[in-house]
């Protein structure tokens, strides 16, 4: 085990995979000379040269399409799209080509493509640069979408994504890059499509992914200490395929669930989770599944409004308390923030 940041875990894994497999190469805006907007690719151009670390024009559709072609011909491109907001420009390439080529053409070509891209608000980047639209890709059969919340999972899932023969959207998060954690030294990939119970408990199932899985774990740990609550936390890790079995098994045990998401509530990933729980664990629910999500507005630029729009620890605690009270737990109200 080595303690490192999420950012460092991503960097080290990219480098290790490039060393392991010469077919792995990187493409993206400012990833070479500038070493990446978030410095994930720092030092890699110098080490591997410009055949393996390609700076691209500001043309998402073009370089994503080029990467798909490279993948079809046997390379393993890892594309960085600076933020997930810019992936909209490549939406047709991803949805209509990367996700469909294998199925539409009788399996003649696989598309072992990884698109690394961060989501997340809270950086005062305005409405067009602060979105969480991974749902657009999780919606599409043929895609895989993974979303690690810890440095260890970032490594394990990036290993799995690069070695997977299907196109994988690898969701990072601006707020997680500097978080730290123990990272295993071996290179065992995660299983894509498997959620993780990051905290075991009996009182309630708290479900999240990416930044909200991180918040879920912190809130559950804090409530265990302050209120003696025994909350089970599930980190989805993979949005497609979705590990419904783990969710259902947990809710069968706890009889209540709260789902956290950084995107908008309406038609969101939380709705899919709630429906899956209703499908698989209806007879075990003692209260309705509750969702916590962002306000239904384009993200404001003002810091105050941006903070108000994003789901906070207090929002999560309130939803947990409401759900526990609905199943008969009497709790004292927590006033202070656990931020």
């Amino acid at each position: 085990m080595t303690m490192k940041t999420y950012r460092q875990a991503l960097h080290d894994t990219l480098r290790a995979e490039m060393l392991r497999d010469e077919n792995v190469f990187l493409m993206g805006e400012e990833i070479g000379v500038f070493e990446g907007s978030y410095k994930i690719t720092a030092g890699l151009l110098a080490e591997f040269g410009d055949q393996r670390v390609k700076d691209t024009p500001i043309a998402e559709e073009g370089f994503t399409g080029a990467a798909i072609g490279a993948a079809m011909l046997g390379l393993r491109p890892v594309v960085e799209i600076m933020t997930i907001n810019f992936s909209l420009l490549a939406l047709d390439q991803i949805v209509n080509h990367a996700a469909k080529i294998y199925g539409m053409f009788g399996g003649q070509a696989k598309v072992p493509l990884v698109i690394r891209t961060p989501g997340g608000g809270g950086q005062q980047l305005g409405a067009t640069h602060s979105q969480n639209i991974e749902l657009y890709y999780a919606f599409v059969p043929g895609m895989k979408v993974v979303a690690p919340s810890t440095p260890a999972d970032a490594k394990a899932l990036l290993l799995a994504a690069i070695r997977d023969d299907d196109p994988v959207l690898f969701l990072e998060n601006l707020a997680l890059y500097n978080t730290k954690g123990d990272v295993p030294d071996d290179d065992t990939p995660a299983e894509i499509g498997r959620a993780k119970v990051s905290r075991e408990g009996h009182d309630l199932t708290l479900i999240g992914y990416s930044r909200m899985a991180y918040i879920a774990k912190n809130v559950a740990d804090a409530l265990a200490e302050s209120e003696g609550l025994d909350i089970e936390v599930i980190d989805l890790m993979s949005l497609r395929p979705l590990d419904r079995d783990t969710l259902i098994a947990s809710v069968k045990k706890t009889h209540a669930a709260v789902v956290l998401e950084d995107d908008w509530l309406t038609y969101g990933i939380g709705a899919e989770i709630a429906a899956s729980i209703s499908d698989g664990a209806f007879d075990y629910l003692d209260a309705p599944v509750r969702r916590v999500a962002m306000a239904e507005v384009p993200m404001p630029y003002s810091k105050v409004l941006e903070s108000a729009a994003m789901p906070t620890n207090d929002d999560v605690i309130t939803a947990i308390f409401q759900t526990l009270e609905a199943v008969g737990r009497r709790l004292k109200k927590v006033g202070q923030s656990h931020d």
Binding site: H255, F282, D283, Y284, L285, D286, A287, E325, A326, V327, G328, R329, R330
Partner: protein
């Protein structure tokens, strides 16, 4: 308008018969008035009005049997919200109800509250407002939710409200009786045998079903013992001479045997037990010794229960057993008087029966069949002498009671009968 439905009046009740209507269409009804007498699998009980109004319609005639929940009458309470059979309010969300912070367990299990219909604000297709988890548990454990008060939002019944029901050890909540349809067998009168059709009473039907279930589902085994009752008979004669002199009621052999059995059960609590079910991880061992005494009443076989029989004196047991038997033959026993048994004694000694075997009265774990106490030749030393002897056979549920345990229980019982002063002297 309020629909009055066939209530669930006992744990094992699946259907009830209208014995007699005390009110008739047009009658003014006050809360607490006896509306109807309902015959259940165990007893005939008065069913009281829980709301005032005018009885507008009787839907089920006297003598007819309907399943629990079937509307039996319509009460006009002055409000013209119709209460048709089709649940018009099925999809309407429950209006918010302020729920006082109550302790988690607000389950009322008393029979008094059983006759209260679901609260009107509990909307839902069956008039109940319960979480899916609660509905599943109610199905699995055969619970009646109609008298459970919901403490969740809007009065929703939540898991916490079932705490009392699910942990109630005496209530056989996990027993689940599969309703057996009455099979029409066509004309069965046989001219050759000169058969005639005699109606099978509801009590008889219940006896038939329960005993069939018991005999078919419980692996019975039987252990017989014989006790020398010479001293017991002498002691009884002595006690009754004194009782006569003081004008007290006489003591019967059966009273002494009830007390002896109660003491033996206290010594072997594993016989005072119930098998809960194949899905259950536990069996129930009962701390109270409540002995049912089978009575062949003129209304059929009934089993009144003497609660805490081990804590009562022989004289007390005698008075209580006699009163229960008299009541069984007279106005009949209440449900309360026939509930809560942990062990049953069936005594056919008064008919001169030497010995017999009985079928277990579920959910109890065993039953004792007691034969007559009569004089027979016994070898004492080198002589053959006449002694009183009594034979008794324990029928035990082999799922929870093994042969050795049954034998130990009978050894204790035999020793008590052969040293009868211990029956009287034991605390």
């Amino acid at each position: 308008m309020i629909e009055i439905k066939m209530p669930r009046l006992s744990d094992t009740m699946e259907e009830g018969a209208i014995a007699s209507w005390h009110k008739h269409p047009g009658d003014r009804i006050e809360i607490g008035d006896v509306l109807v007498e309902i015959e259940t699998d165990k007893a005939t009980m008065d069913y009281e009005a829980y709301e005032a109004g005018t009885l507008s319609q009787i839907l089920v005639d006297e003598g007819a049997t309907v399943t629990i929940g079937t509307p039996i009458a319509v009460l006009d309470n002055g409000k013209d919200t119709p209460a048709p059979a089709a649940p018009a309010t099925a999809v309407a969300p429950a209006p918010p109800v302020v729920v006082a912070p109550a302790p988690a367990a607000t389950v009322a299990l008393t029979h008094a509250t059983t006759s209260r219909a679901p609260l009107p604000h509990h909307s839902g297709s069956d008039g109940l407002f319960a979480s899916p988890l609660v509905r599943r548990l109610a199905r699995d454990h055969d619970l009646d939710l109609s008298h459970v008060r919901g403490s969740g939002p809007g009065g929703r019944i939540i898991r916490a409200d079932l705490d009392g029901l699910l942990s109630e050890p005496a209530a056989p909540v996990v027993t689940r009786h599969v309703a057996r349809p009455v099979v029409a067998t066509g004309p069965i009168v046989d001219e050759k045998k000169a058969s005639q059709e005699v109606p099978v009473t509801k009590t008889r039907r219940i006896i038939a079903r329960r005993l069939s279930d018991s005999a078919q589902s419980i692996p019975h085994f039987y252990v017989t013992a014989v006790a020398d009752a010479e001293t017991l008979m002498a002691m009884r004669a002595d006690l009754n001479t004194l009782a006569d002199a003081q004008g007290d009621p006489k003591i019967s052999v059966n009273d002494l045997i009830i007390r002896a059995v109660a003491l033996a059960l206290r010594e072997h609590p594993d016989v005072n037990a119930s098998y809960v079910g194949d899905e259950s991880a536990v069996m129930l061992v009962h701390n109270r010794v409540n002995i049912g005494v089978a009575v062949a009443s003129q209304h059929g076989l009934v089993v009144p229960v003497i609660m805490d029989a081990d804590a009562k004196t022989v004289a007390e047991l005698g008075v209580e057993a006699k009163a229960l038997a008299n009541q069984a033959n007279g106005k009949g026993l209440s449900l309360e008087q026939m509930s809560g048994g942990t062990f049953t004694i069936s005594n056919l000694g008064m008919f001169g029966v030497e010995e017999f075997t009985a079928i277990i009265n579920p959910p109890e774990g065993a039953i004792l069949a007691v034969g007559t106490t009569s004089r027979e030749p016994v070898v004492v030393g080198d002589d053959v002498v006449a002694h009183y002897r009594v034979r008794f056979t324990l029928s035990a549920d082999h799922r929870i009671i093994d042969g050795a345990l049954a034998a130990q229980f009978l050894r204790t019982l035999t020793a008590l009968i052969e040293h009868p002063w211990r029956i009287v002297a034991a605390q």
